[in-house]
């Protein structure tokens, strides 16, 4: 089975790997690049734990082939904090106890960041529907939704 050489940009850094065309972008991130922050919870696009951005679009990396990333820009949880400075969403997730086991957290943060970039002032309903593809089994979502709303307010420069 011949492998394909892939050159892609992950969180701003150019990287290369050899991918079997059957391997997903998630497999490649985790097993070839050692970026295990993106998680596999289902492998069928139903849980969102593997959420990344691909050329700025939010996707499940388990539903993208590694070879499809060639020449594209990939954004993962490892790139959400910039230069060691946490993104307001990350701070608010800790502050609001919006995580318990933390396994869904990377995917939710990547998804929530994508939401706030296109909608800086989402309603609770908009947050809930945007995140409907990110399963969390620990929190009942209450504190997650609050953390996202509070981070949005923070980013807008409003007091919570």
């Amino acid at each position: 089975m011949s492998k394909i050489h892939v050159t892609t940009t992950v969180n701003g850094d150019e990287v290369e790997f050899l991918a079997d065309p059957r391997e997903t972008l998630l497999d490649c991130l985790r097993d070839k690049l050692g970026m295990t922050g993106s998680k596999e919870g289902c492998g069928t696009g139903d849980c969102g734990a593997c959420s990344v951005t691909l050329d700025g679009t939010l996707v499940c990396s388990c539903l993208v082939l590694g070879v499809e990333a060639d020449g594209k820009q990939v954004g993962t949880i490892e790139g959400v904090a910039e230069g060691g400075v946490l993104h307001p969403l990350q701070k608010k997730f800790i502050e609001h106890a919006a995580l318990q086991c933390g396994f869904c957290t990377p995917g939710i943060l990547v998804a929530a960041k994508a939401l706030l970039e296109q909608n800086p002032n989402p309603t609770e309903t908009e947050v809930r529907y945007w995140l409907a593809g990110n399963l969390c089994r620990c929190t009942g979502y209450d504190k997650i939704v609050r953390a996202v709303m509070d981070a949005a307010a923070d980013l807008r420069g409003e007091a919570a």
Binding site: P21, G43, C60, E68
Partner: protein
């Protein structure tokens, strides 16, 4: 598995026609990758269509309709103001497929070619009278969307044929469409019942209508009797009841893990009524 990324549909069709084993086309990949990873479908040749120029485009046709590239994901449909204004029902059907993440990848063409009777985007396309452009070894042809699915998991496409565009007719004035589905949760489910209604008004009276149902038969249904029930009416209560009865009567569903046949028959009428109301309001100028 061999991975191909041709730069024209003709090349894609040629590769597919020459392939000996299991072949799959890759557009959004949200069905193909699931089948691949679960081992249900292990393609020998995978033909990625997204490197073909124009596959991400949404363009107005000369007659005022729309031509939608096969790699346009649901999120891009929803972001396109012109398309959303003309065909909100088609767009909302596609936007119900999967999550925000899946919307970043999943396509109309993929949803159609997967051949599921429950595909959310298909009833809207059928109600709209959409067609697909098909490229094959013998050239291109056009086929109504309603004729693409021929059974669960089966399409009318022959070996080597690939959908190269989705074409929506011109919308025209005083018209509206809508799609509603029933799922047990609020998101992330496969439709138990889906109903799309497209209609045009003459004054307050419905002059033309098309009603399509999903997940209630082996393929999507275009229910002429349901359309007839509301044409010539102002969608009064008796028209609504007749619509619901006609929709329910057309159903030929199965019991499965997602719902019972009796439930599907009952709720098909409910969804048809509710979708008709939205389509009617949109035709009268309500925004989507």
């Amino acid at each position: 598995m061999r991975y191909h990324s041709p730069s024209t549909f003709e090349d894609a069709a040629r590769i597919a026609a020459a392939a000996q084993g299991v072949t799959r086309f890759l557009a959004g990949g949200t069905d193909v990758l699931v089948q691949l990873r679960s081992g249900h479908v292990l393609p020998d040749d995978l033909i990625d269509l997204k490197k073909i120029p124009g596959t991400y485009d949404i363009a107005q046709t000369e007659d005022g309709g729309w031509r939608i590239g096969i790699a346009v994901p649901g999120a891009a449909l929803g972001a396109h103001a012109g398309l959303c204004k003309d065909w909100p029902g088609v767009v909302e059907g596609m936007e119900l497929v999967g999550s925000t993440q899946v919307q970043g990848r999943a396509t109309l063409a993929g949803n159609l070619c997967n051949g599921s009777p429950a595909a959310d985007s298909v009833p809207g396309l059928v109600a709209a009278g959409a067609t697909v452009e098909i490229t094959g070894p013998e050239g291109t042809r056009s086929l109504p969307v309603a004729e693409v699915p021929v059974g669960p998991g089966k399409t009318a496409l022959t070996a080597g044929e690939v959908i190269s565009a989705i074409v929506l007719p011109p919308r025209g004035d005083k018209a509206g469409d809508a799609y509603l589905r029933f799922i047990p949760r609020t998101e992330m489910d496969i439709a138990v019942v889906g109903a799309a209604v497209s209609l045009r008004l003459d004054g307050d009276t419905i002059a033309e209508a098309r009603v399509a149902l999903g997940a209630v038969a082996p393929t999507v249904l275009l229910v002429a009797e349901a359309a007839e029930a509301i044409v010539g009416t102002t969608l009064d209560d008796s028209a609504m009841d007749a619509l619901a009865a006609a929709a329910s009567a057309a159903c030929n569903p199965i019991d499965d893990k997602r719902g019972t046949a009796a439930f599907r028959i009952e709720v098909a009428g409910v969804m048809a009524k509710r979708a008709a109301r939205i389509a009617y309001d949109r035709a009268k100028g309500a925004s989507a």
